[in-house]
């Protein structure tokens, strides 16, 4: 918590620091909530986690360097908090070797289907192993860099890159299977027209 002194100057300083925090960190609350909900799968727990994260961030806001990526900083705090909570209640979840092996065995790169609905995209994401969902969400939804993801999740950069690549590939594979099952794909008219536009 900010230092509290009875002088007017210090009160002004506290309000000033709150204003800075409100402008810099609070706009990312929604993004934090999405990640928290994905991590906890429970709305109340997610709200708790967001609250804890922002409280900790507020208490250590003097350590944040203006001009750097505040959201990545907040996500790092959130992962740290989440890790502490999980260690307190259960064994740490690790990506199973089997999951990694499955991902490694993907050789065929299906062309990316284009006319799928939002529900199908989210359904495909949901079917990915959690370790791959995680990096795809952080990279493609929250638009964090590989480096930021590695720092936040405490996973080596090379592993992050590998998981992102495999995760995206798996996602496309899921959607391609769906597209094939429903009779559309590479020969789809829309795709052809897009190709001709590109050319």
């Amino acid at each position: 918590m900010f230092a509290i002194a009875p002088t007017r100057e210090s009160q002004v300083a506290v309000e000033k620091q709150w204003s800075a925090f409100e402008a810099e960190a609070m706009p990312h609350a929604t993004s934090l909530f999405r990640i928290a909900l994905w991590l906890t799968r429970d709305q109340t727990e997610a709200e708790d986690l967001v609250q804890e994260t922002l409280t900790e961030a507020l208490a250590s806001f003097h350590r944040f360097t203006p001009g750097t990526n505040c959201r990545a900083w907040l996500v790092s705090i959130m992962y740290h908090r989440h890790s502490k909570r999980r260690k307190a209640t259960t064994r740490l979840h690790l990506v199973s070797d089997a999951e990694e092996r499955i991902a490694e065995t993907i050789a065929f790169e299906a062309p990316t289907p284009q006319n799928v609905t939002d529900e199908e995209v989210l359904g495909a994401l949901e079917r990915l192993p959690r370790a791959f969902q995680e990096v795809v969400i952080l990279a493609d939804v929250e638009e964090m860099s590989y480096k930021e993801i590695a720092a936040a999740t405490d996973v080596p950069m090379g592993t992050v890159m590998s998981r992102i690549s495999r995760g995206r590939s798996l996602l496309r594979g899921e959607l391609a299977s769906y597209a094939k099952a429903h009779g559309f794909g590479e020969s789809d008219k829309r795709r052809i027209s897009r190709v001709s536009e590109d050319q």
């Binding site: 620091q17 709150w18 709200e47 967001v50 995209v121 969400i137 493609d140």
Partner: protein
Amino acid sequence: MQCREFREIADSYLGNELIVETNHEVISHLEHCSECRSELAARRELRSQLREAFIKAPENQMSPEFTQRLRTQLHDYAVGKRSVTPVSQRVWRSSVMVRRTSWLALAACLLLASAFGLVLVRQRISERSPQQGKEGVAGREPTPTYPAELNPGIPVSIVKTELARDAAGDHRDCAVHFRLAEKPIDLEVAGRKYDPVYVNLTKAVVSEQGEVPFGAEFVEAHSCVFQGRRFAHIILRYHGRLVSFLVTEIGDSNPAKTNAALASKGAQVIACSQFDGYQVSCFQTARHAVFIVSDLPEGDNLALARAVAPSVFAHITHAENPA
């Protein structure tokens, strides 16, 4: 660069994660490979669709109540006003409350028995010496500024002391500390279920543009129960302090007589004094009492109450007499 190589690094290219040299190779490849261009466009589109779908998914939205509460709590924490209570603890400490209930019930019984005995003793004393008794009670009352004829149907002392004390307690336990035993419910739902006066009550305090007199900020509105009494509870923030507008039913007086009396006086706001360190201003209608509770200076609390009183009074009076 071969198409197979391009497909392996296409996502990194989209994420701007490649070194400059590799970027040049990709661009060079794309210039003469329409199939890879269309694949890149498809991946870009999928990425964009995934992002939008995930962000817009209804389950991924933060509730406005949580958003507002979060901001309020963090601000209070920042200025050193209070610590942050986790949502899960605030929801609603029911298990702890259940364990404590039997002991609390026993304590409450003992307290009630003592209070009843005390009342009997005081009644006997006042019967023997009425004038002396009145002075004795008045001496312990808060500032006697309440006009006795404001609502002829309701004993002034009850509104002034018992309910005002409850209102201050509700402000403290609900708005400030979030430690009510019973979870608050939506104000409009409570309006349909318990008291029609609650329906659209928020609009009497907050304008359609979301403005509150004196630039106060709307925090939340709900219905909650304190010590068995139900309140409509609208929480505002003014000069960084939480302010509670609490409306509760006070029984049925003679509406026609009361309304006539009130109409001649308008929505008078009275400074009721302090309870537990909180300023409580109040006014009443035929069947409801309205309390404005905060730890603002008395003048500020009263001024805010007076600013909102006309619209709240009009709303409640209209709801009490729908015809």
